[in-house]
């Protein structure tokens, strides 16, 4: 009665095609069209706009000997600038992590007057020219500025200190965190929170143990984006930084400084270090997320 269990030889000469693992091998084809076209175009455009120019950067820095390269990227001032740039970027991204979560939370969960305006304002840092942002922030925070005048008497100096750098970077990075967390928070299942509550969890426990883990990937992404963007930021920072070597000089300023002395290779060398760092970080974050998605993934 079983119709297909016969050990007869297969009618078509087929089988070993996909033994190698890839189910796409051989005659298999994709149902949705345009894979070749879109992937091809993506790679082409990516290569043209991003990879080709960036490889020029790499090659330019290779015009240095290894020793020159090392000197260029590890001079004490450059090292100090890394510390400031990465440190301030990290701090700013960290602040954005909390502030962004707070803003996203408030925007998603609560109703209050002016909510839409606040929502719209979140994207402002994307739109305002960075230099303008830098000038305005400096104007606000300087000793005689709207905010600075109240802080200065208490010995709190923000403008022209590393703290100013952090503030400018917070401004730049905020939308990244808010805009990645917001949709995830919107999608998060109310039932999970209800389940936690009915199991006796307090609101804080629910947030900490249930909500936070579920938005963690988005938070990390937002953090990474804000961080990556902050590392490269120049326009808004230099106005507020004070730019004191070893203290408040950011790495992009080092690059500009090298360019001012027509040291293209040295400038690209430092740029390459920054780029590599950012790239590795993005890669790690993406991999981390992929892993998280696979683990927690699937329909629940």
């Amino acid at each position: 009665m079983p119709s297909s269990n016969s050990p007869a030889l297969p009618a078509s000469p087929a089988a070993p095609v996909s033994r190698s693992g890839s189910p796409r091998a051989g005659r298999a084809r994709r149902v949705l069209p345009g894979f070749g076209l879109t992937l091809g175009y993506t790679l082409f455009w990516l290569g043209l706009i991003v990879l080709l120019p960036l490889s020029a950067l790499l090659l330019k820095s290779f015009s240095l000997t290894w020793e020159q390269f090392w000197t260029a990227v590890s001079a004490p001032r450059v090292l100090a600038s890394y510390r400031l740039t990465f440190g301030a970027s990290f701090l700013a991204a960290l602040v954005n992590l909390f502030a962004g979560l707070l803003v996203a939370w408030v925007l998603v969960r609560y109703e209050f007057p002016g909510k839409r305006i606040v929502d719209a304002l979140v994207d402002l840092p994307f739109a305002l020219p960075t230099a303008v942002a830098g000038i305005s922030l400096t104007a606000l925070l300087a000793g005689n500025g709207w905010i600075g005048q109240y802080l200065e008497p208490h010995g709190i100096k923000l403008a022209f200190t590393p703290a100013g750098v952090v503030i400018a970077l917070i401004f730049i990075g905020l939308p990244f965190v808010v805009r990645t967390v917001q949709p995830v928070l919107e999608d998060s299942e109310k039932e999970l929170e209800e389940a936690a509550t009915s199991l006796g969890a307090t609101r804080w426990q629910t947030f900490w143990r249930v909500i936070l883990p579920s938005i963690l990937p988005a938070l990390i992404t937002g953090f990474a984006m804000a961080f990556a963007r902050a590392i490269g930021e120049y326009g808004s920072v230099i106005f507020i930084a004070g730019n004191m070597p070893m203290v408040s000089e950011i790495t992009p300023l080092i690059i500009i400084g090298k360019l001012e002395q027509y040291d293209y290779a040295g400038a690209t060398a430092v740029a390459v270090v920054m780029l590599l760092f950012s790239f590795v970080m993005l890669l790690v974050i993406n991999a981390l997320q992929g892993w998280q998605r696979r683990r927690a993934g699937g329909a629940s």
Binding site: E189, E194, A195, S300
Partner: protein
């Protein structure tokens, strides 16, 4: 713990989701809330749990008003329709959650938690899955983990919202039996929501039939099956054939067939609806002039002990709006074979028993 639901109402905007619902549930009972989609089952369950607030009315646990008791402190176990398992926690962590979030004073030690969780996992027969993540489980397994998690806090009341809704027919059948058994073991007062009448009838001690935000009937499975309080209940509890007729003097005439209906003894010449369950139809080969509804055998499904027949009334009468649609009948497979009927044959169907509702009955609910 007993539960009393007193005159609970709930609106969502303009929509009356629950209208003055009252219900008593005895300690240790297993009650099914049964009704069509959107009738307010989930809403009622959530109000009992404290996840939603009633607009009016109150919920009493063991005689005490719970209005001011936070969900957290109500000690209800709630099992959500889509499980709502914590995705980023292992099965073990999921079940342990309710214990871990206790205030330090009352929190069991790690060893106790471990023992308790494993005990619960054994109870739901999934001890070997402790280290998996929810995404690595099948639907039925997830369901049982959700239950174990709810039980971990030793709830006084267990509330289950369509616990088997998202499962395969086969798994669903297994789990419902398993739930019954579990309840018999633990005897915790339980309410479960379903829209599957078979499930409700099979599992529950009592069935609460809801429709449009109101309770239509409350009773044991047998009671609601045998004495449905309204046409809605009759129709909802199983397949049914509907015949239009006239009630007069304790009997109803449907297509020339007289059915006794003593409870309508004082009704005179009123429109009536006669509900006949498929297995209450008697089927005989057609004979000219025989009593019964003449029909053609459209399709016969004979697998297992029961033959399900679909009959098409021969002489669809335009004055009788009930006619013209298919009549369904169920007879023992053996009997069907004995009758020697083939598809296309003409038969006579006679209701053996009917539940009759006259005009005034329809108005009530």
């Amino acid at each position: 713990m007993s539960i009393e639901i007193r005159n609970v109402s709930k609106r969502f905007g303009d929509f009356q989701a629950l209208g003055d619902v009252s219900l008593d549930i005895a300690s240790g009972e297993l009650v099914a809330l049964l009704g069509p989609s959107g009738c307010g089952k989930t809403t009622l369950l959530r109000i009992i749990a404290g996840l939603e607030a009633a607009d009016a009315g109150s919920i009493l646990f063991a005689g005490e008003d719970t209005t001011d008791v936070h969900v957290r402190e109500r000690q209800v176990g709630f099992v959500f329709q889509h499980y709502a398992l914590f995705r980023h926690m292992t099965v073990f962590e999921n079940v342990a959650f309710g214990l871990r979030v206790r205030p330090r004073r009352t929190r069991p030690s790690e060893a106790q938690i471990k023992a308790k969780v494993h005990e619960l996992l054994s109870l739901v027969q999934l001890d070997w899955l402790a280290d998996r993540y929810p995404s690595q489980l099948s639907g039925g397994q997830r369901q049982r983990i959700a239950l174990a998690r709810a039980l971990a806090v030793e709830p006084k009341v267990l509330l289950l919202d369509e616990p088997f809704g998202a499962l395969d027919a086969k798994v669903r059948k297994e789990l419902r039996r398993w739930l019954r058994r579990l309840h018999d073991e633990l005897h915790v007062t339980s309410i479960f929501v379903t829209h599957d009448q078979e499930e409700a009838l099979e599992v529950a001690d009592r069935v609460v039939l809801m429709n449009k935000g109101r309770i239509e009937q409350v009773g044991s499975p047998q009671q609601v099956w045998d004495q449905p309080a309204s046409p809605f209940v009759y129709g909802f509890l199983g397949d049914v054939n509907l015949f239009h007729g006239r009630a007069d003097d304790g009997a109803v005439e449907v297509q020339g067939i007289r059915l006794e209906s003593p409870e309508h003894g004082n009704v005179r010449n009123a429109q009536a609806l006669a509900y006949v369950r498929p297995h209450d139809l008697e089927i005989r080969p057609w004979v000219a002039g025989g009593t019964g509804i003449a029909a053609t055998l459209d399709r016969a499904i004979v697998v297992g002990p029961i033959a399900r027949l679909e009959l098409e009334p021969v002489d669809a009468n335009p004055d009788n709006p009930g006619s013209g649609t298919i009549i369904e009948a169920q007879i023992p497979a053996q009997q069907f074979r004995d009758l020697g009927l083939a598809e296309g044959d003409k038969v006579l169907a006679t209701p053996r028993k009917a539940r009759v509702f006259v005009e005034e009955d329809w108005v009530s609910p």
